[in-house]
Symmetry: C2
Subunit: 111 residues, 2 copies
DNA sequence: GCTATATATCGATACTTGCCAATATAGATA
DNA sequence: TATCTATATTGGCAAGTATCGATATATAGC
């Protein structure tokens, strides 16, 4: 799956409980939730988020108990959704959270 | 999919960005996100949430543009996840949001 | 260039899920 | 009881996805 626009672009900035979402906003917001809706991917995201300076991809395979290709796949989904950033450092790639992406989702589900 | 425990039972009450989720918490929390991760279901939820007294199921089929069984299916998923409540009133069934369920998810993704 | 290592992509498979048509269930009313 | 209506369930199909082994790409160091 690929999300073309960043979650921060979601037009609606009001809680989902305040006014019914239009179709387009629902598609964008649901895409963010879907990314976080897989347990392995959510743990992966939380592992990255738990370290302030981000995480090397090399440190994420073992704690997840999944193969390297599988972790790489989930990292790609997280990156393309705009939830994490990616930076190459020499041979390694460092992932870090994009706080503003999470914040927009948080605002929407706050009553 | 069926979620046996309510989202409010999720053990962890800290943001996912603060400490890495353990496996069990990730499974529970991801289940909530997965429920909201379908655009039709998210719109359905937002339709119910937008009316303070809840919504009759009979008023939810037409605006979603899906068949009655499909809407019924999504309502079941929402109910079993603990995100909405259900009450029979005569021939009709009224759905309303359970605010505390959303709140727990909101806390977890707040930075 | 050659080798070693870190990450990504490919291809295949098993499982999940969103959807609808048909049917069942349950309450209301006569 | 019979009938009408609102909602739920069943069955099946098509599309999506999580997973892994094998392979490709890219960087570092020699």
């Amino acid at each position: 799956m690929s999300i073309m626009t960043s979650p921060t672009d979601v037009a609606c900035c009001r809680p989902v409980t305040e006014a019914a979402l239009d179709d387009a906003s629902a598609i964008q917001l649901a895409a963010v939730f879907a990314v976080l809706g897989d347990p392995v991917r959510l743990r992966l995201f939380s592992l990255i988020a738990s370290l302030p300076d981000g995480s090397c991809a090399c440190d994420l395979v073992e704690p997840l108990g999944r193969s390297q290709p599988t972790v790489s796949h989930h990292l790609k989904v997280l990156f393309e959704s705009g939830l994490v950033d990616r930076e190459r450092r020499g041979r390694w790639i460092w992932y870090s959270v994009r706080p503003e992406a999470l914040a927009s989702a948080s605002i929407l589900i706050t009553c």
